[in-house]
Symmetry: C2
Subunit: 278 residues, 2 copies
Amino acid sequence: MASLEGSDDRSARLIALDWGTTSLRAYLLGDAGSVLESRSESWGIMQLPAGGFAEAFRLVTRDWRSRFTDLPAIASGMVGSAQGWFEVAYCAAPAGVDALARSLAQVPAGPLSIVPGIAQIGDAPNVMRGEETQIVGAIALAPELSARSLLVLPGTHSKWARVQDGEVRDFTTFLTGELFGVLSAHSILGRFARDSTARPDQDTAVRAFERGVLAARGSVAGMAPMLFSARSLVLARQLEPEASLDYLSGLLIGEELRCGLATGEMPSALIGEATLCG
Amino acid sequence: MASLEGSDDRSARLIALDWGTTSLRAYLLGDAGSVLESRSESWGIMQLPAGGFAEAFRLVTRDWRSRFTDLPAIASGMVGSAQGWFEVAYCAAPAGVDALARSLAQVPAGPLSIVPGIAQIGDAPNVMRGEETQIVGAIALAPELSARSLLVLPGTHSKWARVQDGEVRDFTTFLTGELFGVLSAHSILGRFARDSTARPDQDTAVRAFERGVLAARGSVAGMAPMLFSARSLVLARQLEPEASLDYLSGLLIGEELRCGLATGEMPSALIGEATLCG
């Protein structure tokens, strides 16, 4: 794509990497953060190619760096954790884009800067790596979120973050996605679905999911006494066995909503890939 | 032990089996349910010896049945489930000892009766197999529980059962033990303990456990936003990595207590092995 070279308004300015546990996403950015090109590899920090971090970085950025010399590169996510390429100390909350930018760390002998995560200190310690960059990006796209907002970042480890004056003040982590994964694969709640080759049709799946969301969301004490219903409803022939995981997924997300909304504060925005947010 | 024979007050009356998913416990009972002998095998319904149910039964009862002829045998637990020796239909709640006795089922061509479980019908369907027998036993030992009580049976799948007029009226299942198992073995919350060869000393373990119980028990919305603290407290050096599973265990049990006690009704008794109840 040599045609990009010399094109003033589409000149590449930065390589940005979203480098997490299970995937590496790379973006070639132009002016004002416009995405010129992107690619995705399965080289999360737990499944690197031979040659490790340096080789993964070289391969995913090779042609961009040969076409545009002296292009800076920046990464966020678990690549900055103790299991990553280079451990970058967390910024203490409250922290915004200025504090994060001041604490960018250079990979030793590497052509890459890594964005620090944010740590919440105190009685309810908590950490994020990667989500701080999504939040900075969301605020850049929607400046009205800066003054005061509650942002929800769904995923394996969902984050609910309160932003004030452009800074992440405090946040909560829900293991929603990971709970679904381990319960589906390893608990008795996944057995009906594991033993069945049938998949529910879309309507059945959506109905089971919504039923789970409403059950957990509307409960007084929460999901714990209800988890077993992903099995007992099937035994009582009130739920299709092949839809039991859709119901379980609903229960877990309903519980996240119930707890996240318990303060009465309403979320301002959902941040993440469209499929996740959907 | 031929000396038992002929001893009137210690004569064997019944073989009783507690036959669950992971173990088979056998008791030789005398008058008034006194335990004359007992043994335990790892032949739960998921790990039977060659020869299956019949062979496991033959081996575990062999010398008793040769010493005492025509001894009846009775079993409770998952042996009566669809995955067991012979599926026995649930009694519908409310059900007490009379209904259970009327619905005992004989294993075809087998020398064994199986106690049915109890099913709660309706909007919150639920099932128990084995716990109904523990409850009947508890009421026999402590008749004051019969009129009205809330009984807690901790375990892999904890049950909280309301008894009224000698019958199990309704009950709740908590996956407390199973959640601990799958999260310890398969989630990020177990990683510190899995990576560590150190075991916490008793004091540290108890302190971490109690901290978890209090955190979940005293929370407003429940454990879901707190689960990640089994990791983040370690990252913040507020919890020993090797005690993180003790803390997680406390969180899960604290959550069970928070939900179970949400109605304001206080449990009357804990039923189970001393180690579990401890």
